[in-house]
């Protein structure tokens, strides 16, 4: 197994940077009209990114003369449909929206995507501003293999951030926590079960809870895999992270949190019943929507507090790729490129629907000034980008990992011992990981 190690990632980033320096003629524009008349099919996971594409796709057709049919399917079903069609060898789509944190390794190992490295170097096909170096390090790691070849374009990133209720914090005289320890103390102060308010809320539901827990794990210095690809999420860092998770969710969180996914957590937060919430950066629009939220204008946004071994924001992300079996690869490339373009990225971030992986979008002052969400929100996204780290191990059985270790975490919320539960879960998971890498 070729895991994403820090060294690989640095090598990839360095290569990309060097490549950007070698430069292509800056004046050249790709031959947008060359594939006019082609028809493309796109399969998307339902969400603001898909909406953003469907709303503006006419611009792409006007630019290129390429007709695009797109389909949005709820995320879980989309993942299944895509995998089944790709494994059949004859997918019905030319461009596919993939979840890196779940599918990267699976797609890579099966060889389902087209290598787009050469497309990117071709000035006839690629706009000069689209260079690998413009993507954040996490995006580039997701999109490239261990030989620095790119198989997709990073589209939208999901950093985990800390949402907090300014009013509740002020009422109890609590400062915004800078470290995880401070957060626990703050959460305990803010918890008042008689009043129905709690200091912290977050995902407790099996599988979903892993995305929260890894923020703690990374900040306790955890690494998912060692150099040989062995999973390490039952080591001392994991046990400490789980103890923190257990403490927060059993003493400072609303009752029933063991069954909470983001939706229930958000409900508690938007109703002003929970003071702090760690989750994906994309939830600002509902929190600031007066029809759905009672905390409009009272929400603070900041990065995940630091742990004893560093400060990281667990990062997840989506990309777009071209199936290896696609017959219109060049036309599909033009579409992928347009999907991650500056114009489309600006629209996405300005509406608060997502954060593009491209630094040139997030760093653009003009784009920043058009963002409809609070400035703090944008700042938390930019700051998280600087401390971002992949939030899940890059392995094939990600779903099994999330289910098994996630169930262990949920069990600790009923009082089970973290070390014992993690050990038990990994006894089940290790053979699965070995089997998947052998196959």
């Amino acid at each position: 197994m070729t895991a994403i190690t820090r060294r690989n990632m640095l090598a990839g980033t360095a290569a990309a940077g060097a490549w950007a320096l070698t430069g292509q003629p800056a004046w050249s524009e790709p031959q947008w009209k060359k594939y006019a008349g082609t028809k493309l099919e796109v399969i998307l996971a339902k969400g603001p990114r898909g909406d953003n594409l469907q709303k503006n796709i006419k611009e792409f057709t006007a630019l290129t003369g390429i007709e695009v049919e797109s389909e949005q399917i709820p995320e879980q079903q989309q993942r299944q449909k895509v995998v089944i069609e790709l494994s059949s060898g004859k997918p019905s789509f030319d461009v596919v929206h993939l979840s890196y944190h779940v599918q990267k390794r699976q797609f890579e190992k099966a060889g389902w995507l087209t290598d787009v490295t050469d497309f990117m170097k071709d000035p006839n096909l690629t706009a000069p501003d689209l260079v690998p170096g413009d993507f954040s390090a996490a995006g580039l790691t997701y999109a490239s293999n261990d030989k620095a070849r790119m198989f997709s374009l990073p589209w939208s990133v999901d950093y985990f951030i800390l949402y907090y209720n300014k009013e509740l914090l002020a009422k109890k005289g609590v400062e915004v926590p800078k470290t995880l320890d401070e957060m626990v103390v703050a959460a305990q102060k803010l918890t008042d079960p008689k009043d129905g308010t709690f200091g912290f809320v977050g995902r407790g539901l099996r599988n979903a809870n892993m995305t929260l827990w890894t923020n703690f794990f990374l900040n306790y210095g955890g690494e998912f895999l060692d150099a040989k690809g062995n999973i390490q999420t039952d080591g001392p860092e994991a046990i400490e992270a789980t103890k923190l998770y257990q403490k927060l969710l059993t003493t400072c969180a609303p009752p029933g949190v063991a069954g909470f996914n983001w939706m229930e957590s958000m409900a508690s937060f938007t109703q002003g019943r929970s003071a702090m919430w760690i989750d994906g950066v994309g939830w600002a629009p509902p929190l600031e929507d007066p029809n759905a939220s009672r905390v409009v204008g009272k929400v603070g946004y900041t990065v995940v507090p630091a742990g004893p071994k560093g400060q990281y924001s667990a990062t997840y992300g989506d990309g777009v790729g071209i199936p290896a079996a696609c017959k219109n690869k060049e036309a599909a490339w033009l579409l992928c490129q347009w999907m991650v373009s500056k114009a489309q990225g600006a629209r996405l971030v300005q509406a608060g629907g997502g954060v593009p992986f491209r630094n040139s979008v997030l760093g653009d002052a003009e784009i920043q000034s058009g963002v409809k969400m609070p400035k703090e929100w944008l700042q938390s996204a930019i700051d998280s980008g600087k401390i971002s780290k992949l939030g899940l191990p890059v392995i094939i059985p990600v779903a099994e990992f999330r289910d098994l270790v996630g169930a262990a975490l949920t069990a600790t919320l009923s009082g089970a011992d973290p070390a014992t539960e993690l050990k038990k879960a990994h006894e089940q998971f290790r053979p699965i990981l070995e089997r998947s890498e052998k196959a």
């Binding site: 299944q80 494994s87 009752p255 063991a258 019943r273």
Partner: protein, 312 residues
């Protein structure tokens, strides 16, 4: 003239006779479309599933024959073993509660009272709703902080509950939804049964001075037993394969406290893409459903024999 006709027709019948003997009148061509359909959509998938259950088959990797090893994994897989227990307890409760409540409702709606038609119509409405939509509404109602159920409990002075958010109460809470939705079906079946009962036994019981309870216990209940068996069988098959409500409300959680075989099967097949193992689970699950149905049929047969025995 007539002789000619006779001769001709005689010749014709002679000519036809040997042919009919060769090809007996058969209607099998008419069966072919149905047969092909059944083979294609039922028999073939089944045989294919059984074949797949002997393979190691991960989507994206080549397949390999592994014999019975997928089946041997089952008893050692704690998630599978747990899911069997969850399925059985969920099914038992989801059959029993609607059966009891549905029978009571049928007795109530059999009585004549003003507005009966309207109330009957209202009562069967949950049955017509889409399970996933219902599930989403119930999820919000179950919310321990914001849900209306805990508010209602607080009105009568009861402490708030965790409903589907606690491993200990998740299955009864899910059964509550299932009961709410499917009690009307049992009511309809049993109501049909009660309506078809003769009135004479009741009249003679009344003359003998039987109480309402005695009439229900010794006349109505034995006579509607066949209908109850039908209702139980339909409910059992529905409940054991229930997926939508559980998936939409808890996804098998908290932890894996409400993961039934069906949900686990779904995860293995379409989230882990382990098709060989999933097929083995499907085969075992099928066997379980067949066994349950057979058990109910045997019970029904025995009840009929018992009934015959008491008659003579």
């Amino acid at each position: 003239m007539s002789t000619i006709v006779e001769q001709v027709s005689g010749a014709a019948s002679e000519a036809a006779a040997p042919e009919r003997a060769l090809r007996p009148p058969s209607y099998w061509p008419f069966v072919v479309p149905a047969l092909v359909t059944v083979l294609a959509v039922i028999i073939f998938p089944w045989l294919f599933t059984i074949w797949m259950s002997f393979q190691e088959w991960k989507v994206g990797s080549p397949t390999a024959f592994v014999g019975l090893s997928n089946y041997l994994r089952l008893p050692a897989d704690p998630r599978f073993v747990e899911s069997v227990g969850h399925t059985l307890s969920y099914t038992a409760l989801s059959v029993l509660l609607p059966l009891v409540l549905g029978t009571l409702a049928a007795v109530v709606f059999h009585a004549r009272f003003p507005g009966r038609g309207l109330l009957r119509a209202l009562f069967i409405m949950p049955m017509m709703a889409t399970p996933v939509a219902i599930a989403l509404v119930w999820t919000m109602m179950f919310h321990p902080q914001l849900g209306i159920l805990n508010y209602l409990l607080s009105l009568v002075g009861l402490p708030p509950q965790l409903w589907v958010f606690h491993p200990g109460t998740v299955i009864p809470s899910l059964v509550l939804v299932e009961t709410w939705q499917w009690t009307p079906l049992v009511m309809l079946i049993v109501l049909g049964g009660i309506a078809s009962l003769p009135t004479e036994p009741y009249e003679s019981a009344q003359i003998d001075g039987a109480s309402t309870w005695q009439m229900f216990r010794y006349i109505t209940l034995p006579l509607i037993m066949p209908f109850l068996f039908i209702a139980a069988m339909i409910r059992a098959i529905d409940a054991i394969k229930s997926f939508d409500i559980i998936f939409a409300i808890t996804q098998g959680g908290p932890g894996s406290a409400s993961e039934t075989i069906n949900l686990y099967l779904y995860s293995v097949a379409f989230v882990y893409y382990d098709l060989g193992y999933a097929s083995a689970i499907a085969v075992v699950f099928f066997a379980l459903i067949v066994a349950l149905t057979a058990l109910l049929l045997v019970l029904r047969r025995r009840a009929q024999w018992n009934a015959l025995g008491t008659d003579t």
